[in-house]
């Protein structure tokens, strides 16, 4: 076994997870308004009221963080695959990998913080 197999296996697993997570996400955000699926206020699923209503639920805060993490891993691994296929010098390849890891961790930290902050704000705001 080598690391390549490990990362690729999780890349596949992340893809399958995204299929369900993003499928649900898009269902709610685009069709939720008209059928009031997790969107009780009005016909626009992404209105401020509905966004805050979802933010107030821990389930949504957690799935947002989950989606972000899984999505970033799947996407940035894919990007790295494409970049490394350009026959970069080993040092450049290492830098690319390190840079993408940093971008991934940074955005994950920022996004998770925001998702959780929105959660606490929504609860405090009593909009739930």
């Amino acid at each position: 076994m080598s690391n390549g197999t490990k990362f690729w296996t999780w890349h596949m697993a992340a893809g399958v997870a995204l299929l369900f997570l993003l499928g649900l996400h898009m269902l709610i955000m685009h069709f939720g308004g008209s059928v009031h699926l997790f969107a009780p206020h009005g016909s626009e699923a992404v209105s401020v009221e509905n966004s805050q209503w979802r933010d107030a639920h821990t389930f949504f805060a957690i799935t947002y963080i989950l989606m972000l993490g899984v999505g970033l891993y799947h996407g940035l691994y894919g990007l790295r695959t494409i970049l490394l296929e350009l026959t970069l010098k080993p040092a450049v390849a290492k830098t690319v990998t390190a840079f993408l890891v940093l971008v991934g961790l940074g955005l994950f930290g920022f996004g998770s913080w925001a998702a959780w902050a929105a959660h606490t704000i929504a609860i405090a705001g009593g909009k739930g």
Partner: protein, 145 residues
């Protein structure tokens, strides 16, 4: 003799595209790359934009900066990219984990390859992606008004 100049005949990124005379799986492969990059770009922007709501900034709602037809259209492209990437991804998972390529066979002319084994799957997932997009697009553009 040994130090004579060799001409490097590597095709480069153009070789990914294949110069226009290749099979349908090659086009699926290149579209998978392009849509994946597009979705990744969207994810990066989406994360930042939606995070701004913590500061009470909702750029995508009525009157918001992103509530313009051009962004609506851009979003539709992302949905289209997602539809292709997701459904083609189902095929790739099945193929690359060896479920949809068949067993080794005796190579008797005219040769049959694993391409033929997974081709029906390719057709089915592309149809599903198209249906998803047609339904979604109808709804989407309906909501856009």
């Amino acid at each position: 003799m040994a130090d004579l100049h060799r001409h490097d005949n590597r095709l480069g990124v153009w070789g990914w595209l294949g110069g226009g005379r290749w099979g349908v799986e090659r086009y699926a492969y290149i579209l998978h790359r392009v849509t994946g990059l597009g979705i990744l770009l969207y994810l990066l922007m989406h994360t930042v934009v939606t995070s701004l709501r913590v500061r009470g900034i909702y750029l995508w709602t009525d009157g918001g900066f992103l509530h313009q037809p051009i962004f609506k259209f851009g979003e539709f492209l992302v949905v289209a990219a997602f539809a292709f990437h997701a459904f083609n991804g189902i095929r790739l998972v099945l193929v690359e984990l060896g479920f949809a390529v068949g067993k080794p066979i005796e190579p008797v002319y005219p040769y049959k390859t694993s391409l033929g084994v997974q081709r029906p799957l390719l057709i089915v997932v592309m149809l599903l992606a198209f249906i998803f997009l047609a339904v979604g697009g109808y709804n989407f553009l309906g909501l856009a008004k």
